[in-house]
């Protein structure tokens, strides 16, 4: 029986995975994907909560918006990554460490 708990568990797993990707992967594209994971985790949360506890549409709306914005963010992010790649011939995150205090 699928209940709220399982949804939350999945979303939490997604969230953790996203964070771990952000932390551990060195490939920038992969990191952008990590962001997607995190966003999706919350989107899933919104949907699940709406379904099981709250009987209003807020959650659905929010998750829709999340999808849109995730797309926009990914677009911008990729653009920047491309620019970065043009300049450095690399999408390795460690090459983005010239700004040091």
């Amino acid at each position: 029986m699928i209940n709220l708990g399982s949804y939350l568990a999945i979303s939490f797993a997604l969230f953790v995975c996203g964070i771990l990707v952000m932390i551990a992967r060195k490939n920038i594209i992969a990191m952008l994907l990590g962001i997607e994971l995190i966003l999706n985790a919350s989107a899933l949360n919104f949907a699940a909560y709406t379904k099981f506890t709250n009987n209003n549409l807020d959650g659905h709306i929010v998750s829709l918006f999340i999808i849109v914005i995730a797309a926009a963010e990914a677009a911008v992010g990729l653009g920047i990554v491309i620019r970065f790649f043009q300049l450095r011939e690399s999408i390795h995150i460690d090459d983005a460490a010239t700004l040091q205090n």
Binding site: M22, I23, A24, R25, I93, D94, A96, A97, L99
Partner: protein
Amino acid sequence: MDYTLSTVAPIVLIPFFAFVLNAFIVKKFTKLAVAISTGAIFVSFLFALRIFMDFMNVYSVGYYIHKTFTWFDLSAGSHVFKVNMGIYIDNMTAVMLLMVTGAATLIHVFSTWYMHDDPRFGRFFVYLSLFTSAMLGLVLSDNLLSVFIFWELMGFCSYSLIGFYYEKEGAGNASMKAFMTTRVGDVFFLLGILALWSVVGNVTFVDIYKAIGAGAFNNLYALGIPLATFAGVSVFLGTMGKSAQVPLQVWLPDAMWGPTPCSALIHAATMVAAGVYLSLRMYPLMELGHMLPFIAVIGGITAFGAATIALVQTDIKAVLAYSTISQLGYMVIGIGVGSYNASFMHLITHAVFKACLFLSAGSVIHSIHCQEMPQMGGLRKKLPYTFFAMLLCCFAIAGVPFFSGFVSKDRILGDALVLALTNANHIYKLVALLGFGGAFLTAFYMFRMLFLTFFGEPRDHHIYDHAHDEHLGWNSNVPLLILSLFTLGLFYSGSFTGQGEVNLFGSKNEWFSTLIHKPDATSLHHFSEYKAEEFGSVDTRDKVQLTPAVYDENHGMSEHVAHEIHQIHHIGAILSIIIAFCGIFLAYSMYIKKSVNPGWWTSTFANWTKALKNKYYFDDLYVGKIIQKGLLPFNDLLSRFDMGFFDKYAIDGWASVNRWAFTISKWFDNTIIDSGMVDGTGASVRMMNVVLRTVQSGKIQMYFIVIVVVLAGYVWTLSF
């Protein structure tokens, strides 16, 4: 007569205004300035004489003048605090005034001759005026605070006068030494003033006497010491500084750096006298504080020790300087053994003959431009008047009968002897011993000086031949002769021997011991009805009311006791006469008859001689050890600590603390988080997930880790 601003104040103010005026005009009109100072002091002498005469007319122990005015007043609301200044004249003051003004006048006159060729002729008189006015102010003061003020002013004057030849390095040292050494005493004197103030509420002499009489000091303590003793010791330390008692005597010999007349002033009339005068004024306090034995011993040591040092001095002024210290020692002994009047008398007599001696020495130096006795000799023919004056003074200081020194010193020694024989406290025996020994030495070294200077054959013919002959001159040697005249005993005792057999001034004989009122415990109650008057108000007391003083053979003691005392006094007198003549004879046989060879003594007691020549190593101890080795290095250390350590690390440290924080945080970022945490997480991740093989760190990922960790931390703290 009424004692108001117009009759007393001029004694101080005329010389002071002379000083102020001269300070401005001295550069242009030197001669005028000199004339003004000398005239000023002479005028104040006349005023003093007037007062003295008045007191002699009244001739009563209880006669006094006490005028006060408010200097400043801090009373506000419930708090009452006002500081009064005023004049207090009793017989003692009257005599002091006469002595100071008289001696000062003669010294001024002499200086017009002595300093005449000096480039800073005028300036010297400026200082002299300030100096004398300060001393007069001190004598007239009715309270310790103003005493202290003038006392310090004198310190300043002596500083300027000793450093008068400021291009000489030595003068600078000497003047600083003089000021600092006396300053040590002064500071304690101030402490004493504070202590008295805290009890009495002001520091007027009379009020202090009243307080003591009323037992206000009973079971009061300061720092665990009985307050009377505390205050007494502090005040007496002031005396020790100014009157050059051991161990603060070091400055007085160096005071010779000043011109000779100013030495005369310092040694005779003003500076050193002030110290003893203070102790005399504070006698009740000393008595109350049970300090008399202590004082007596200090005096004894000073009297004897200084005399021994004088033995080996070859500089004529040095001999006189040490004789001064030793004579001051006698005065202090006098205070210590309770012979108040005699001590005071010795102050006066000594002032006179010591002034005379210094002026004579000055005249000698002026004529031969040399101070070393070994190079003198036979000057008797060249300087007859000076020789005559000096001879009389030597008799006086040696304590030959019919001379003032005998009258005063003999009484001090007599009283010392009395205490030595009768008093339970055996310390007085030592005091008496030192006293008589000192008397012997005094006689010896004074005549040694006399013989070396004036007798025998000239040892340095070059100097001798260039010495110009002395002619009688109103300002060159007349002052000496006048002073030497007053070395006769009868001016002080009214009789030649000083034992009151011969009635010279009718009933006025023994006026010193009759008029001067010894404020000891038994007689303090006299002061209970003393009262001060506002300045300017006419003195209304009808002097006829005052009971004239009469000379009491027994000093108020019972016939029997007085008889015993007199017995001892006579013994003492005879003893001191014998001693004096022994000393003179020894000197005679050494330096005239040459029957005894001084060289043998010096060679036999070589170490002693060395010690004496080095003044018992006091200077080495103070300057060499304490200051050079102790104080200055400590100061260096302290200032190094202050700027080099405290400021650098403790204060500027705070600036660098921030930098540390900055660097540490950086190091934290790079080392701990980067390598440690990132790789650590990486390891855990590797175990978790095989997909992530090689784990590297990137700066931004480090950021994420920090965020995650912090968030976790927050979550943890907030929710559990």
